[in-house]
Subunit: 321 residues, 4 copies
């Protein structure tokens, strides 16, 4: 139906007159379907169902980008091209359904991703799950000073012993109070009101691959809280990597392990590339990055410090140090 | 892990330690997977992949609503309960991917449903599909007088012959101009600018079952334009019905073939149920429904007329006639 | 620019050449903007900003439905028509931003509505809000027997006194443990892990009017949990009603106080409307609604019982009783 | 209500007891509200309403990130921090409503952004807008050879004269056929079926700032089609820049004028930063980027060529040339 001098007929236009097709499948994922992968002390993630695979991404891209791309790119090349250039819609053609078990505290962060379909275990209909995440004596994390939202190192085991004991005491009382309410006939929807956020919940969570990768990029990041990062790593490195290995490789190369530079950083690197430290310093000066304290040391400046990190990572010396 | 006096352990909590599971599948849909179902003169719809089935809805509901529902309801009962009470999230656990071929004019309406994933054939990358929907001499529809957005009956064949001939003339000129532009080296993205809306396009369209039913409810409706209604009927009665027969049955019973009454209509029916026509008339009077023209006939009043239709459908006489 | 024999030029096409326009505003809402409306023991809702009003809905509808509707409908009639016929997009043209303070337990339900924009108070960055919802001695609700997810009546005050005292004990210990962790230098993100679900959180929550009404329809419903219902009532009856009174009226008439009948119920009402109880009974029989226990009484059948409720509400006698 | 040793009370917790607040407003945008900004030959964009401003972003961020950020960052710094680190939710707190007039061909691309609220002019209810975009004799663009989806330079005026004349002929016939159908009583919904894609349509389009910036990033890009790029530039540089100048500046610095490097590119830059061309070449070799034709010249390799572009932009010599 297509007529073109350059382009042979698009495969999607012709192949649908053929015999019935079969659903895309992925043996590597099939082999672990339903298997719970443990996360935290009593959580898990397991793949329950999925739709599509690497080839489904390619198929969707070909309907958009036409048969012409066929000659220059094998599947891997096309997937990498799509990922590099943020052509995101073909990745939406894959879908996965997980069954997860996760503390409510972590779930509160998880559920903020609005693009998924969700069915959560209901503590209105049923009794709350009788399990809460607990903390080993050597796993109490210290408040980070530099980063208001993070943690940095661990408290000593002596402190940890006390904290863990108090945690047990609190979780035990919470559980007693909950049981007591249920026994006295309090409605489940009200009895649950003081459950600790550490209580486990379960859910089916279904999401397309594009939005899953977005979730993973944010939640595998070192800024994400350790607990949700543990789930994200399991989902990414164990499930997505088995499911769509070419997509996963491209995602790691272009989005997870990539670096991004602001217009200011680009100017500074440009000066350094041409071996002109003075020009780089002048540029930083103009940006107001090089304010100094009375004692001559540089003032704290978050954006400059982020730039310094990147320069070091690229192997440049920091010109203003 | 659940402890309860009334409730046995929820199946989802225990069954995941078992041997690997298999993906939900539906033989009735598998047997037509990839098969194009013709719509209009040169369009089609075909299912390319899917995830989930009737049981996946039940499974998702059980994680939310708990094991307790198990004893009172078999799957069909539970699905019907969910549908009746607008518990929509379990239906989101099923997903289907279609490949469609549809005139751009119809696609403009289709694409307004924002909850789907879409990859459309690109006429920037590839030549436009060389096919446009055409109208048989007896299929020219007359503008409805009562309904500003609808059609009502057909023009006579004599008129139709002229109109169809002019349609051919226009489509032919459009095609010539497009070919000419391409031949002269005009960029495809610009060459396409005057293609008629009747030109066919193709797309992969992926959507969850809940949002698909919402689409079908609106687009199978008698107010929807005939062309998109044809696609909706094919998707509903041929694909969804094969895929999730229990869901489809519940959808038809509770949403497609159901009736809804405003608070005013409820009052009127209540009066009629108690054989009190005067009270019904009085109510309509108070609503301002019974204004009359100089000649004594009732003025046009859309809401009253809609109510009259419903009363007749229920077998009541219209009290104010 | 429009040419038509029947239709005068659409206002939106011409009026934009005029002098600068002003933003739609609503004095009734302006007068309470920023004012916290108390909900529960220490929660609130307050409107912080908004966009659009009743007229913005009309304006949007007119661009879709054209100038032709102008003659038949004033604003109220058009809004009611849109609401009655589920033409939902014009209602999306209004937007409101609320600042809410709500127990985390309630927030867990609230946040399931995915169409809103949300910024929640972060207990990673800042200390948790030092307030938890508490229960008065006479407000402990009893588990409903008929409805697995609801409550039904209250426990006696003697029981309540014990339960409230235990609630205080638990909330106090939770608070102590949290303070202790903070004092010992535990990272805030970890210190919060055992906070009770009754702890208050705050958020900015921004949503369009269509999706807000959907939220309210579900959360004002008698099946919704009392706590979120209290918030929904405040938002609906105090804020939305002030903001868009015509929309609110139509919403109440057509969606909140309306009734809906399945195809089966329609058949039964039809028989009753024609005074044919035997036909109604026959119909119920065929549906399998009239199974009887050994002692001759009707078996529990949820759908039949729902139908009975509706028949009584309409003033019909139940034919099979 | 907050208790903390380090943190002063969060402003959002206290300021809501004050006197009624006023809506955020932006005089610079108010002064052009409703004013159509011309785009293409007969299109426009005009802002009709808005909600929020730069300060609304800051306010939302402060509820999330707490009062602690207050001391280190003024508004500009906080906005830049949010933009740099992809903390996108505060930008969703601003909303704008545009009235646009755009050819259907361009609208087909525009509408693919699913996060907006839309009310489009209906050619079922009203007559189609009697205007189509036309092409000047010197504006016919040539198909790009290197980029399958783009254009590259213009055809000569002689060719252009012929093409423009044929365009007029086609648009005139289309218009005649449409008028004829309407005159004969064909339903508007069917009469429109062969309108050219160049026909103008109008819509209200409402979107939050985060999603608008996403739209602009994609549609201001040099890969976007010229027509939609013209709209995106007008929206960005004239409306958003007036509305939220600090957000706009940060968006340009960190997202529009920034550069991103894959893990492979990072390795190559690292080698060059340490003046080691051989290591850079070795790395490219391992990636398979340096395949050569029989005549010794490098084969086409899209990813290598993209990398070369970036190296030149940074002022590096290309090591393998």
């Amino acid at each position: 139906m297509l007529q073109s001098t350059h382009v042979t007929e698009a495969p999607h236009v012709t192949d649908h007159t053929a015999t019935p097709i079969e659903r895309a499948c992925v043996p590597a994922l099939d082999s672990i379907l339903g298997k719970p992968l443990r996360v935290l002390d009593d959580g898990f993630v397991r793949a329950v169902d999925y739709m599509g695979n690497d080839q489904a991404v390619v198929q969707a891209a070909r309907v958009s980008y036409g048969a012409g791309t066929k000659k220059v790119s094998q599947d891997r090349g096309l997937i990498r091209y799509l990922m590099r250039h943020h052509h995101t819609t073909p990745f939406e053609m894959c879908e996965i359904k997980l069954h997860v078990r996760v503390p409510m505290d972590t779930w509160r962060q998880w559920i903020r991703h609005r693009t998924a379909n969700v069915n959560e275990y209901s503590t209105r209909y049923s009794l709350a799950i009788d399990s809460a995440s607990s903390t080993a004596v050597d796993r109490w994390r210290q408040q980070a000073m530099s980063n208001r939202q993070g943690s940095d190192g661990h408290l000593c085991v002596q402190q940890g012993q006390h904290l863990t004991q108090r945690e047990q005491q609190l979780q035990q009382l919470s559980q007693e109070v909950y049981q007591e309410r249920i026994a006295q006939g309090v409605a489940r929807e009200q009895a649950r009101k003081d459950l600790p956020l550490s209580t486990y919940t379960e859910a089916y969570w279904k999401i397309d691959l594009h939005n899953l990768l977005h979730f993973l990029r944010l939640r595998m990041d070192s800024c994400a809280q350790q607990e949700i990062r543990a789930y994200a790593h399991t989902i990414g490195h164990q499930l997505v990597k088995s499911w769509c290995p070419l997509v996963w490789e491209a995602f790691m190369d272009y989005h997870v392990n990539s670096m991004s530079f602001s217009v200011a950083e680009t100017h500074i690197i440009k000066s350094l590339a041409q071996n002109s430290s003075p020009r780089a310093i002048e540029h930083a000066q103009q940006l107001g990055w090089l304010g100094r304290k009375d004692n001559g040391t540089l003032k704290t400046h978050r954006e400059r410090q982020e730039c310094e990190q990147k320069l070091l990572q690229l192997g440049f010396a920091i010109p203003w140090r």
